[in-house]
């Protein structure tokens, strides 16, 4: 059975080249002003960078704040260590806290023991 292409050229609008060019020109007349106006506002390289910076700078600030917060949580406070230590620790590290009986190299009296155990003089 024959299955070669049909001759459909009578339906081809480009058979009349002048008319066909007129059709294409008609389309371009309708769209060209709009395309040209877009070219006028087409983004420049500097414009693209400015647009990018508008988003990137605030985002970077937020990221920096978050990073600082996380760093604080992980490393702990940087204030004086002794402020948080308990009395025994203070007593062991500081010269001023060494009781007189120990500095004099003599046995403690009951009063010294009372003081060392947290009693009030």
């Amino acid at each position: 059975m024959r299955n070669d292409p049909l001759d459909l050229t009578p339906l081809d609008p480009s058979r009349d080249p002048e008319r066909w060019r007129g059709m294409m020109a008609a389309v371009m007349r309708r769209v060209e002003p709009s395309i040209r106006s877009r070219a006028a506002v087409a983004p420049t390289v500097l414009g693209l960078i400015r647009g990018w910076a508008r988003v990137a700078v605030p985002a970077a600030a937020v990221m920096a704040a978050l990073a600082l917060g996380i760093s604080q949580v992980l490393t702990g406070p940087t204030g004086p260590v002794l402020a948080r230590t308990d009395p025994v620790e203070q007593w062991l590290v500081g010269d001023a806290a060494i009781p007189a009986w120990l500095r004099a190299d003599r046995p403690p009296t009951p009063a010294d023991l009372w003081l060392a155990s947290g009693g009030v003089r």
Binding site: L6, D12, E32, A39
Partner: protein
């Protein structure tokens, strides 16, 4: 080197009228063919094809994959043709252009003969489905390959071959019948 559709789309988006002009040159006839497969009237199909190209420009930013410009344009052309058919359901019998030129005595024998041939072909295609008509016109009039038609109409290539075979056979049979009727009448 031939610019790809994707490149021309990008250049058009950047405001290059020449690039869009190339897309019009390349695809206006395809839009016409799809419109004709819906409308059966060349003058209407020409109008719809032009409107479809304008719509394509207006919506160019909505095209996700610039490489699929043709398939996207065909969808626009088909939708516009269906809307046109719905809006103009009471169709005129004689193309307005021919009627006007005939009335003014300007229609040449050649124009009249061309319209007769068009009418004969379109009448022979009336029994086809819309898909068969689209496949036949895209292949035998617009010169697209099976795989290009398959991609444009979102059909398997085998289905395109099947529709093309059926469409040609049906149109040939109808044209032969009409010739026989004309011969018998003389």
């Amino acid at each position: 080197m031939l610019d790809s559709d994707a490149r021309l789309v990008e250049q058009s988006r950047g405001g290059d009228p020449a690039a869009f002009g190339r897309l019009v040159e390349r695809h206006l006839r395809t839009a016409y063919v799809v419109a004709l497969s819906v409308l059966h009237e060349p003058a209407d199909a020409e109008d719809v094809a032009q409107d479809s190209m304008v719509t394509a420009w207006e919506k160019l930013d909505q095209l996700d994959d610039p490489g699929h410009f043709r398939a996207w344009l065909l969808q626009i052309a088909r939708r516009r043709a269906l809307n046109f058919r719905r809006d103009e359901s009471a169709r005129r019998g004689v193309p307005l252009e021919l009627a006007e030129s005939a009335a003014s005595g300007a229609a040449t024998d050649r124009e009249v003969m061309r319209h007769e041939l068009q009418a004969r072909l379109l009448h022979a295609m009336e029994g086809l489905t819309e898909t068969e008509r689209a496949v036949l016109l895209l292949h035998d009039l617009d010169g697209l390959k099976h795989r290009e038609i398959a991609a444009s109409l979102e059909l398997p290539a085998g289905t395109v071959r099947y529709h093309l075979f059926n469409a040609r056979r049906a149109v040939r049979a109808r044209l032969t019948d009409e010739q026989q009727e004309d011969h018998d009448a003389q």
